[in-house]
Amino acid sequence: MDKNKGFFDRFKSIGRGLGKYNGKNIPKSVNYLSAKELRIISKENRKITEELELKRNRVGVSESEYRTTMKNPDNILEIENLHTYFFTDIGVVKAVDGVSFNVPKGKTVGVVGESGCGKSVTSLSIMHLVQRPQGQIVEGEIRFDSGDMIYDIAKTPTDRMQKLRGNQISMIFQEPMTSLNPVFKVGMQIDEVIELHNSHMTKDQVRQRTLEMIEMVGIADSGGVYEMYPHELSGGMRQRAMIAMALACSPKLIIADEPTTALDVTIQAQIMDLLRTLKDQINSSIMLITHDLGVIAEMADYVVVMYAGRVVEQGSARDIFYNPLHPYTVGLMASKPGKDKKVERLYSIPGSVPNPIDMPNYCYFKDRCDRAFEACEGEYPPTFSISETHRVACYHYANGGGGIRD
């Protein structure tokens, strides 16, 4: 990717600078670009994406290209230095910019962050569901242990990926109404998944398995729900149907992208309880993406905190909740009103997330940070290990501050 570095930097100045309002200097609207600038950008984008697409669409890719080995055999998924970029007409959006974390076998890893921090794009990258050709994994490795072979998902060709997706890795989406097809019966939609990945099963066996799945997710009237359309179900029931579909092939890894955000708290409690028991029942691992710290605290063994496309802090749930280190994590915790917080004013992190097209070259959080000091002027901080599990990307914990540079 080195040869593209110059390209990304060349457009740093586009859309920046000052405008005028009533004779006063004001920051120019970030979305404004002239037609000429737009043309240059889209031409360059096409060049890069076409090259990447050609590479991805090759036929007969040999297995050795995407066969790899795990760094630690106890992990089901290892993400290393993942970069997923979107080549948009107003510039390159580095949605995921050097993310690394692991999902250990049988554990739940919670990924938390605000909207636009890249948590969903990370999960879509794992599933190969990033909108192509604009969205591309440009660098990094996603190692997944399927049992008989270890895949590097970033390099796996699409036809091979189709065998993994829904079978070994499956995803539960946020909005159950938009992810279920409204014109097909719920039972049929679950049948489809099972049929696709188990060609040896007969129609009756498939139906039997679907009914089993519907019962497993806590729907008593499995025969009735099998014959229903999605609109006939309530929000909680739809999410249960989605979970049944995701778990139909007993996947090794379940990615749950905000599975309870659209639901009421009482239903959320039911669904979280269900996910916890089912995970152990089918011996699987969960990667849980949410912006709700409370949900993370209840569900997750390990927590990854993301900000502006990068991991700022990761550790076990205890590390993060009892000893948050990164100023962003601390701010996030303080800004949530809570039961035992009797404060008049809530803490709020000043400012807002930097523009994704035009990221600064120092720490992305510096401009909003109340603990910024001289070292923060330097390049983006590397990660420092505080303990075996706990890592943080902040200069306050550099070698003198209790951390060891990775």
Binding site: K24, S29, S234, Q270, L293, A297, S335, P337
Partner: protein, 334 residues
């Protein structure tokens, strides 16, 4: 119920009450069949009474579909009531004629949930905020610009934002525009219909702080509708808990949160996830989901999901009872 009886029941009845809601009902007809006859009703709001004191915030919580938003809309007469009364500052809102209602409108305002769909994409922000002010001639034309600038600054917006369009703003900034639009008319009472549920946690805190600051500065009264209990706990003075169109518990914030009485309130509060990985406390998980409001269960509407259900609950609908000073609950247990 007689006036005197009501006064005894209503804990905060006083001249300071800016909003008085009495036995409010809102039914939506379901029509069908050959001649589109009315087959039944969705009882969105069924016999709800409460008061809101001037300068305070009442939080309204409940699951989706329990009628929170309908109450907000009926109070503002954005939709007509079926029965009951809504008094704002002693004026019966649903009896006003068109001119009087229009004259009253600036004093009662609303902030909607979704800042993406409640702002016109074709209007610059200055126009969105100022349109109603100019139409109503609230300020003389020569002071108009300064007035809008002042309102925008109060809401944390900059003067140069006036000429920009809503798509150039983030969710939090848009919600500030919505607040500025409501505030520009110098209202006394604002219905906040889930104003922060579409926002991120860190932005949520900014907006909640802004709403609190404005309340202090302009002596505003809020009806704060939300399904997020921790937000309601932070901002409210009194809290009403709703279930299927009924108010099941109503009291001061401190009482409701420290000593919830209704089984539904208890379950609702225990379902809030706590930010503590070791606090895997006792959780009351409610079975099933909220029944359909077009065909609610007989007796107490909550009896189908209640773990304390008794025979009487299946037949008789419990009335709101004052259990302790200023703490009302509708349950046969008390």
């Amino acid at each position: 119920m007689t006036e005197a009886g009501l006064a005894a029941r209503m804990p905060f009845e006083s001249r300071d009450d800016i909003i008085q809601v009495r036995d409010l009902k809102k039914y939506y007809p379901i029509s069908g069949g050959l001649l589109s006859r009315v087959k039944g009703y969705v009882k969105a709001v069924d016999d709800v009474s409460f008061n809101i004191r001037k300068g305070s915030t009442m939080g309204l919580v409940g699951e989706s579909g329990c009628g929170k938003t309908t109450i907000g809309k009926t109070i503002l007469r954005l939709t007509d009531k079926t029965e009951g009364s809504v008094k704002f500052d002693g004026i019966e809102i649903h009896d006003l004629n068109k001119q009087d209602l229009r004259a009253l409108r600036p004093r009662i305002q609303i902030i909607f949930q979704d800042p993406y769909s409640s702002l016109s994409p074709r209007m610059p922000v200055g126009e969105i905020i100022g349109e109603a002010v100019r139409e109503r001639k609230l300020v003389p034309p020569e002071e108009f610009d300064d007035y809008i600038t002042k309102i925008m600054e109060d809401c944390g917006l900059q003067e140069y934002h006036k000429d920009r369009y809503p798509h150039e703003f983030s969710g939090g900034q848009r919600q500030r525009i919505c607040i500025a639009r409501a505030l520009a008319l110098n209202p006394d009472f604002i219905v906040c219909d889930e104003p922060v549920s579409a926002l991120d946690v860190s932005i949520q805190a900014q907006i909640i702080n802004l709403l609190k600051d404005l309340q202090e500065k302009y002596n505003l009264t809020y009806l704060f509708i939300s399904h997020d209990l921790s937000v309601v706990e932070h901002i409210s003075d009194t809290v009403g808990v709703m279930y299927l169109g009924n108010l099941v518990e109503y009291s001061k914030k401190e009482t409701v949160f420290s000593n919830p009485l209704h089984p539904y309130t208890k379950a609702l509060f225990s379902a809030i996830p706590v930010q503590d990985p070791d606090a895997k406390g006792e959780r009351i998980i409610l079975e099933g989901s909220i029944p359909s409001p077009s065909n609610p269960p007989s007796g107490c509407k909550f009896h189908t999901r209640c773990s304390y259900c008794m025979d009487v609950c299946r037949e008789i609908m419990p009335e709101m009872k004052m259990v302790e000073e200023g703490h009302e609950v509708a349950c046969h247990l008390y």
